[in-house]
C-alpha cells in the first residue's frame, strides 16, 4: 500500500484523539475523523485502520470511556469521552509534541 502524505505521524494519533475529545466532549469514531479532518483544514486524515484499534487500546488503558448512544439520525453509535487519566495523558502528550516540534524546527533551521 502506498503511503499517503497526510498519514498521521506515528504516535500523534492518541494526542489528536484526546485533544478532540477534550475539546468537543463525547464523540463517536466517525465524528472524531471528521473533526480532525475539518479542524486541520483537510490536511490530516485519520485512517480507520488505525483509529479503532487506537480507540480500543485507549479504552483499555483507561484514558477514554465508551458508551453506546443514539445519533441525530437515530443510529446506534459508540461514543467516546476523555477520562481524568486521559486528560493527564493529554497534557503529557502535548508537552512531548511541543518538544518534538521545537527540536525538528531547530534542526531544519540549522540546515
Amino acid at each position: 500500500m502506498q503511503k499517503r502524505k497526510n498519514d498521521i505521524l506515528q504516535g500523534t494519533l492518541a494526542l489528536l484523539v484526546l485533544k478532540s475529545l477534550a475539546a468537543r466532549g463525547a464523540l463517536h469514531g466517525y465524528a472524531i475523523t471528521a473533526h480532525i479532518h475539518h479542524v486541520s483544514a483537510e490536511l490530516l486524515r485519520v485512517e480507520e485502520g488505525s483509529l479503532y484499534p487506537a480507540l480500543h487500546r485507549m479504552e483499555q488503558d483507561g484514558w477514554v470511556r465508551a458508551s453506546w448512544g443514539t445519533t441525530e439520525k437515530n443510529r446506534q453509535a459508540r461514543y467516546y469521552s476523555v477520562t481524568a487519566d486521559g486528560k493527564r495523558q493529554l497534557a503529557r502528550e502535548e508537552e512531548s509534541w511541543a518538544r518534538l516540534r521545537d527540536g525538528v524546527q531547530r534542526v531544519l533551521r540549522f540546515a
Binding site: Y30, E48, G49, Y52, A77
Partner: protein, 890 residues
C-alpha cells in the same frame, strides 16, 4: 482492570464480535451518507466507502486483538484447531489418548498408593512435630516399664504417648467377630490433639493401675456398629467378653496413627490387666508398645536426641529383666533411645511394601516412556502427512514459533485428555491395588481421596509427557522449506531412510525398554511360582484352621486341656476328617523361639543356639502332611506326668547333634539363669517352613501339648477333610460348640494363610506381568505402525523392484530384515540394560538369580515372536503390491 476486561472478552467472543460489527458498520454508514450528500449514487457511495474503510474483517481483527488477551485468544484458536485435527483422524487420537491414559493412569494409581502409604501426614494437630521414639528392638517397640520410665523422666516433650495393637472379639461365643483396637496411654489423644466427636476422650486420669475398663470408639466404628447413636455413650461394650464403659467417640477421620490399618476402638493401657493379665504392664520382656512424642516448642530434633541418649542408661537400668543371663543383660543395658520424625505415622504396610511400591513406580514410569515414544512416533508419521499443509503455511508467512506452539497445543491436549482418562482409571486402579494388599485377617485401610499432591503429580506428568512426545515432532515438522509446498506431489521414487531415523530410534528404544520390563515380569513370576511350589514340608491344600479360645468359659488349669481334648474327639468323630491341635501354625506371623542347651554342642554365636518351638498334639504331622522320618508320633503315653518328649526336624537334629539320627538324644531349654528338665527326642520329621516360605526351615522342636502343665486358653485346631475347607466348617463349629458352648472360634483356610504370606510377591508378579504385557503391546503397536507406514511410503520402490523381477518372498524378507535389525538392536540394548539393573531386583527374588538365563531367554523369545507378528503383517502387505498399480499412481 484492563486485564479483567480482556480476559472476560476472551470468554464471550460472540458479544465482542457483535459490538465490533455494530461500531464499525456505523462508521461505514456515516461514510456512505457523506458521499451521497456530495452527490454520489448509493451504489458508488457504498463501494467507495468500503474501499476507503479497507478490509473490514482485518480492521475488526486488529481492533479485536486490542480488546482480548491475544495469547489466550490464540490459545483458544489453537485448541479449536487441535480438536478439529483430532476429529479429522479419530483413530490416531483414540490410540494416542488410550496409550497415554494407560500410562498416566498407571503412574497416578501407583503414586496415589505411595502418597497414601508413605507421604500423607496424619490427620492430627501439627503432625510435622511428632517424633517416634524407639529402642533397639527390630520392630521399634518397647515394654510398658520402659515406656513409663521414659514418660516420667523426659523433660523435652510437651506430650508423649504409647500404644499397642490389639484385636478384640465382639461376640461372646461361637464364631468370633473382631474389632481392631489399640491399648493407649492416658495422654494419647491430648498429645495427638484429637478431639471428641461425642462424649469425652481418654485422659491421664483414666490410666492408672487397677483402672476401670473404658473405651473410646472411632467415628467410623460408631457409625457402622451403632448407626451413630449418641445414647451408647455411658453404656458398655463387651470386648473379649469383658464389659468396657464407652466414654466417647473420636473425631471423624481419625483412625489411629497406623497407616494402612484403621482402629475401631481405643482402651487405656491399664485395662490390659482386665483381659490380658498383668504381664503386659509389668514384664520388661513383653515388648509391644510404640512410642510417639511431641517436643516442647523450640526444642530441636538434635536436642531431643541428645536428651534421650543421656536418659537411656537410667531407663534401661531401672527396667532390666530378671532371669537373664549376664550376656543378654549387658545387651539390654547397651540399648539406646532414638527419635525419628513421625509426621506420617507408623506403618507395617510401609515397611512391607515401601520398596515394592518404589519398584512399581519405576516400572510404570518406563511404561509411560514407551507410551510417549508411541505417540511421538504417531505424531512423526502424521507430520509427514501434513508436510504440505505446514509448508504452505510457512510460505505465506506463518512464524515457525507460532506453528510449533500450535502443534504443541495439540500434543498437550492429547496428554491432557490422556491424563483425565488416566485419573479416572487410577481411581479404580488404586482401589484394586488396596484390595490386593488386604488379606482376610486384616483389611487394609488407606485414605486415597484426591489431594493437591496427587493432582499436581498428574498435571505435571501430563505436561511433561505432552512436551516429551510433542516437542521433537513439532520441531521437525516445521523444519520444512516453504518451497517444498510448491513442488506439488513431490514423492520421490525411493523414500530416504534418513528422514525417518528418529522413528526407528524410538522403536529400538521401545523394544529395549519393553524387554527390560518383560524380563522383570519373568523374574517376578518365577519368584512367585517358586514360592508357591516350594517344598514347604507341609501340604497347604485342604486344611481348615480353627483358632479356639475358651477364656470366656473360665476353665482353669487342667480343665482347659480336658475341654480341648473333648473338642478334638468330637471333631475327629466327623466322617472323613483328620484333626490335630497346635499352638502355632506355619507362616501365620507368630513365632516362638528359645535357647537350646544340648550335650556336645557349643553355640558359635547367640543366634546359633536358638531354635524355633511349637506345641502340637498327636496326628499333627499327618494332618499337615509333614513326613515323620524316624521315631514315633506323640501318643497317649506322653502324659503330663511322663518324661518330657519332643519331635524335632532334621535341621534341629543336624544343628545340635550333627546327625539326623537323633532319636533318643536329649536337650534342655534355657529359662533365664536355669535350664529345663531334659527333653527326650522321640521322633524326627522333615523340615517344614516356619515363619515364611522364603526363609529356609529353621531348627524346630515340637513339644507335646499333652505335657503342658499350664495349658493356654487358646489352641488352633488343624482339620483336614476330603472336600473343601468351607464345606466342613459348619460341622466343625457345631462339634466344638457342643463340647463347650462358650468357646469363641475363628476359621481360616491354611491354603489362604500360605497364599497371604506371599501377598507382596503375588502383587509384584501380577502387576509386573500386567505392565510388562502392556509395554510389549505398546511397543508392538509402535513397530506395526512404523513398518506399515514405511511400506506405504515405499510402494513405488517396491513396485519397481517387483516389476524388475523381485519375488514376493524377497520383498517379505526385505521388510522383515528391517524389522529384525530394529528388534535386534533393541533386544541387545534392552538386555544390557536389564543385566545392569537386575541387581536392584535381587532383594525381591526367591529361588532364581537376577540374571536367570531361562527367564531372559524366555523374555527375548516372547519379544521377538511378538515383533515378528507385528512386522509380518506390513511385510505381507508389501509383497501384495501390484507393480502396475503402484507405478500408475505416480
Amino acid at each position: 482492570m484492563a486485564w479483567y476486561h480482556r480476559f472476560s472478552n476472551v470468554l464471550r467472543p460472540r458479544r465482542l464480535s457483535r459490538d465490533l460489527d455494530r461500531e464499525l458498520s456505523f462508521h461505514v454508514s456515516e461514510l456512505v451518507d457523506e458521499l451521497v450528500a456530495r452527490g454520489m449514487t448509493d451504489r458508488d457511495a457504498f463501494a467507495e466507502a468500503r474501499r476507503r474503510f479497507g478490509n473490514f474483517g482485518m480492521q475488526k481483527e486488529r481492533t479485536r486483538d486490542v480488546d482480548t488477551m491475544a495469547w489466550l485468544d490464540s490459545l483458544g484458536a489453537d485448541v479449536r484447531y487441535a480438536l478439529r485435527a483430532m476429529r479429522r483422524s479419530p483413530g490416531f487420537a483414540a490410540v494416542a489418548v488410550l496409550s497415554l491414559a494407560l500410562g498416566i493412569g498407571a503412574n497416578t494409581a501407583i503414586f496415589g498408593l505411595i502418597d497414601a502409604v508413605m507421604l500423607r501426614a496424619l490427620p492430627v494437630r501439627n503432625p510435622g512435630e511428632l517424633l517416634r521414639v524407639t529402642a533397639e528392638d527390630q520392630w521399634g517397640v518397647v515394654s510398658n516399664p520402659v515406656w513409663e520410665q521414659v514418660r516420667d523422666r523426659q523433660d523435652v516433650f510437651s506430650g508423649a504417648l504409647a500404644y499397642g495393637n490389639a484385636r478384640f472379639n465382639l461376640n461372646a461365643a461361637g464364631e468370633a467377630k473382631f474389632a481392631t483396637a489399640a491399648w493407649v496411654s492416658g495422654d494419647y489423644f491430648s498429645t495427638l490433639g484429637v478431639r471428641a466427636h461425642a462424649g469425652r476422650m481418654l485422659a491421664k486420669s483414666d490410666d492408672y493401675r487397677g483402672c476401670a475398663p473404658v473405651a473410646v470408639l472411632s467415628y467410623a466404628f460408631w457409625r457402622a456398629h451403632y448407626g451413630g447413636d449418641p445414647s451408647v455413650i455411658g453404656k458398655t461394650i463387651a470386648l473379649d467378653g469383658h464389659p468396657f464403659l464407652i466414654a466417647g467417640v473420636s473425631a471423624s477421620g481419625f483412625t489411629g496413627v497406623d497407616v494402612g490399618q484403621s482402629k475401631d476402638l481405643f482402651a487405656p493401657l491399664c485395662a490390659t490387666a482386665v483381659n490380658g493379665g498383668s504381664g503386659m504392664l509389668e514384664s520388661p520382656s513383653s515388648v509391644w508398645l510404640f512410642m510417639i512424642a511431641r517436643p516442647k516448642p523450640g526444642v530441636s530434633l538434635d536436642q531431643v536426641r541428645a536428651r534421650l541418649s543421656t536418659l537411656a542408661p537410667a531407663v534401661f537400668e531401672a527396667t532390666v529383666p530378671r532371669n537373664r543371663g549376664t550376656e543378654s543383660r549387658s545387651d539390654y543395658l547397651r540399648q539406646t533411645l532414638r527419635a525419628t520424625p513421625a509426621a506420617n505415622g507408623i506403618s507395617q504396610l510401609r515397611s512391607d511394601y515401601g520398596r515394592a511400591l518404589v519398584l512399581l513406580m519405576v516400572v510404570v514410569a518406563l511404561v509411560l516412556l514407551i507410551a510417549c515414544a508411541n505417540v511421538a512416533n504417531l505424531l512423526l508419521t502424521r507430520a509427514t502427512v501434513r508436510e504440505r499443509e505446514i509448508a504452505i503455511r510457512l510460505a505465506i508467512g506463518a512464524g515457525r514459533g507460532r506453528l510449533i506452539r500450535q502443534l504443541l497445543t495439540e500434543s498437550l491436549l492429547l496428554s491432557a485428555l490422556g491424563a483425565v482418562a488416566g485419573a479416572l482409571l487410577a481411581q479404580w486402579g488404586s482401589r484394586l491395588l488396596v484390595a490386593m494388599l488386604s488379606d482376610t485377617r486384616s483389611a487394609v485401610f488407606l485414605d486415597l481421596s484426591p489431594n493437591v499432591r496427587l493432582f499436581a503429580f498428574t498435571a505435571l506428568v501430563a505436561v511433561a509427557t505432552g512436551m516429551m512426545f510433542g516437542l521433537v515432532p513439532a520441531w521437525r515438522a516445521t523444519r520444512a522449506q516453504p518451497h517444498t509446498a510448491m513442488k506439488g506431489n513431490s514423492r520421490g521414487i525411493t523414500q530416504g531412510h534418513s528422514s525417518f531415523s528418529l522413528g526407528r530410534a524410538l522403536i529400538i528404544f521401545q523394544v529395549a525398554v519393553s524387554l527390560v520390563l518383560v524380563v522383570g515380569a519373568g523374574l517376578m513370576l518365577g519368584t512367585f511360582r517358586r514360592l508357591t511350589t516350594v517344598d514347604a514340608g507341609f501340604q497347604r491344600q485342604g486344611v481348615l484352621l480353627v483358632d479356639a479360645n475358651i477364656r470366656n468359659g473360665e476353665y482353669k488349669g487342667p480343665r482347659r486341656a480336658e475341654v480341648f481334648r473333648e473338642m478334638l474327639a468330637r471333631v475327629r468323630a466327623l466322617p472323613g476328617v483328620k484333626a490335630a491341635v497346635s499352638n502355632v501354625t506355619p507362616v501365620s506371623g507368630s513365632a516362638w523361639t528359645d535357647d537350646v542347651v544340648a550335650d556336645g554342642f557349643t553355640p558359635k554365636t547367640r543366634e546359633d543356639g536358638v531354635a524355633f518351638f511349637n506345641q502340637v498334639g498327636d496326628g499333627y504331622f499327618e494332618t499337615m502332611g509333614t513326613r515323620l522320618l524316624a521315631g514315633r508320633d506323640f501318643g497317649p503315653r506322653d502324659a503330663l506326668t511322663a518324661p518330657a518328649v519332643a519331635i524335632v526336624n532334621e535341621s534341629m537334629a543336624r544343628r545340635f547333634f550333627a546327625t539326623t539320627n537323633a532319636v533318643g538324644k536329649t536337650f534342655r531349654v534355657l529359662q533365664g539363669q536355669k535350664t529345663s528338665a531334659p527333653i527326650e527326642i522321640v521322633g524326627i520329621v522333615e523340615d517344614a517352613k516356619y515363619k515364611s516360605l522364603r526363609d529356609p526351615a529353621p531348627p524346630t522342636a515340637y513339644l507335646a501339648v499333652s505335657q503342658d502343665s499350664t495349658p493356654s486358653a487358646y489352641l488352633t485346631f488343624d482339620v483336614r477333610a476330603g472336600g473343601s475347607t468351607a464345606a466342613i466348617a459348619p460341622a466343625v463349629r457345631n462339634a466344638m460348640l457342643a463340647a463347650s458352648p462358650t468357646v469363641s472360634l475363628t476359621f481360616a483356610s491354611f491354603a489362604e494363610q500360605v497364599d497371604e504370606s506371599v501377598a507382596r510377591e503375588r502383587l509384584l508378579a501380577t502387576l509386573s506381568t500386567f505392565f510388562g504385557g502392556l509395554a510389549l503391546l505398546l511397543a508392538t503397536i509402535g513397530l506395526y505402525g512404523v513398518m506399515s507406514y514405511s511400506v506405504a511410503r515405499r510402494r513405488n520402490e517396491i513396485g519397481i523392484r517387483m516389476a524388475l523381477g523381485a519375488a514376493r518372498t524377497r520383498v517379505v524378507r526385505m521388510v522383515l530384515g528391517e524389522v529384525a535389525m530394529l528388534v535386534g538392536i533393541g533386544v541387545a540394548l534392552g538386555l544390557a540394560f536389564a543385566l545392569a539393573s537386575s541387581r536392584l531386583l535381587a532383594v525381591f527374588l526367591f529361588g532364581l538369580a537376577p540374571n536367570d538365563p531361562v527367564t531372559i531367554a524366555g523374555a527375548i523369545t516372547i519379544s521377538v515372536l511378538v515383533a515378528a507378528v507385528a512386522g509380518y503383517l506390513p511385510a505381507r502387505r508389501a509383497s501384495r503390491v501390484d507393480p502396475m498399480l503402484a507405478l500408475r499412481e505416480e
